[in-house]
Point group: C2
Chain length 262, copies 2
DNA sequence: CCAAAATATTCCAATATGTGGAACTCAGTT
DNA sequence: AACTGAGTTCCACATATTGGAATATTTTGG
């Protein structure tokens, strides 16, 4: 009998191909064949064919200098994925309202395993460009949105998320042990509000609230973020009710829009 | 001996999986199993397993009402794809300059087969949001950027692009037959400038110029776009030199930045 | 409330596909 | 010219995919 692998791994061929794709696409620099080989556990011949297939499919691109970079087909797929996301569409107007009320950056992200994936971001007068943050994954345990989301999980789901969670230190304020983290979640659960006081990025503070449905098939969060020099603790606390209200409003709209039609 | 398929098709298993993924992700509404079955040429059992695998990999999501929608993993991959695109990064400052000079929306897209994939867009004071246009694919034959790009292809590559091109009518001004289109390309080749006078979207005009490298491994275009009521033909002609200059500047920078290190 | 119909899911023998160790090629060096 | 290191190709073998048909589930409507 084949042992189930620890978490992700292999939907047969596709799973392996995706693992390779992600290695290359999420790396911060172009990788050459040997670079990929070094981090992959596939044998030479196999890996080479997998990369070739990914290139043929337009998911990767092989530059003349033999470096693999993300292909254009990914963009095409992603824009569809973003544009058609109903949860994002429902939340958008509330995020904008929250931004107008606070004047600071508003984030909206969903929990996926141990990560938060940002679906939307509303920020100041920024020459927006497709913000590279959108679609980005951040660790859940040290972000406001992530902690808010985790606080809504039941014992079993939380255990699954915590299992193997790496409490990596990003800043001096990062919570780096499991028991402190569980205590923090208790606090968040009581107040319905999560704070991130420079736990993920130095100089960045935020206040967040959870968004979820009864079945916990959706676990997400919304936050207001600002630079520490401009945003005091008192300021965060003052925004808390607004953030909580936005979260409740989004939940209400979600259950109204998505609930019935099931 | 297996006959080579007409164009796209099958890198074995991965190719088929991607075809299914694209069917679902690029559809404008959630598809249920039978919907996908109807447009796919795969047998029931096969298709079902392919969809299951895509769901397991997070590329698709299966909602409780049995509808398949694009998954979050696509977003994660895409943001990397966009953020790390060197061509886009090189072009960005020139696009912004062009926007400042004209005050209208600037597009930048690359040719991929018969489509233009938009890599960037700089527009007026728009509450940007991750513009759904980015990553979008439009037909090359009826867009300014697309026609500019096609005009740089040699006979062989152009033939490949034209083969099987559907000259679908989008507006009364769309060029809908091959010979008129080839004549149009000749014109563009001579002037180095392409106009789109409401050929794709009613009420939308643009002027575009091609961007390419010697080897034609990169074929792209840049354009300035505006609403017909505000942008006259004379205005477009007046912008043409600016657009051409921007294109040349981008090409210069590209050859300087990407050329040597090959 | 229970059949009938439509839809979704599972099964499994046949086989097309992917696997991977080893051989080969093609720079760029020493 | 021999050597190193990277990339690419090969092919007997193993296995994941295939797909027709059976089964399960949900929906319809009488």
């Amino acid at each position: 009998m084949e042992m189930e692998r620890g978490g992700e791994g292999g939907t047969g061929t596709l799973g392996k191909a995706m693992a390779v794709l992600e290695t290359v696409a999420l790396s911060d620099r172009p990788l050459r064949f040997t670079d990929v080989l070094a981090v992959s556990d596939q044998p030479r011949g196999t890996l080479h064919r997998q990369l070739s297939h990914l290139v043929q499919e337009g998911l990767l691109e092989l530059r003349p200098d033999h470096a693999y970079v993300p292909g254009l087909r990914l963009l095409k797929l992603a824009s569809a994925s973003w544009a058609r996301n109903e949860i994002r569409a429902v939340a958008a107007p509330f995020l904008e309202a929250l931004h107008r009320q606070t004047g600071e950056t508003v984030h909206f992200g969903v929990l996926r395993g141990r990560e938060i994936i940002y679906l939307d971001k509303v920020e100041s007068r920024q020459a927006v460009r497709m913000n590279s943050q959108i679609g980005n994954a951040s660790p859940a345990f040290c972000t406001g949105v992530g902690k808010a989301a985790l606080s809504t999980l039941d014992a079993e789901a939380l255990e699954a998320a915590l299992a193997g969670m790496e409490f990596r230190r990003f800043t001096p304020h990062t919570i780096t042990d499991r028991s402190s983290f569980i205590a923090e979640l208790d606090l968040i659960r009581q107040s319905g509000i999560a704070f991130d006081r420079e736990e993920h990025e130095p100089g960045i503070r935020c206040v967040a609230a959870p968004i979820y449905d009864e079945s916990r098939s959706l676990v997400a969060g919304v936050s207001v973020t600002g630079p520490a020099y401009r945003v005091s603790d008192a300021q965060l606390s003052q925004w808390a009710p607004l953030v909580g209200e936005a979260a409740r409003a989004i939940m209400g709209e979600l259950s109204a829009r998505l609930g019935p039609q099931r």
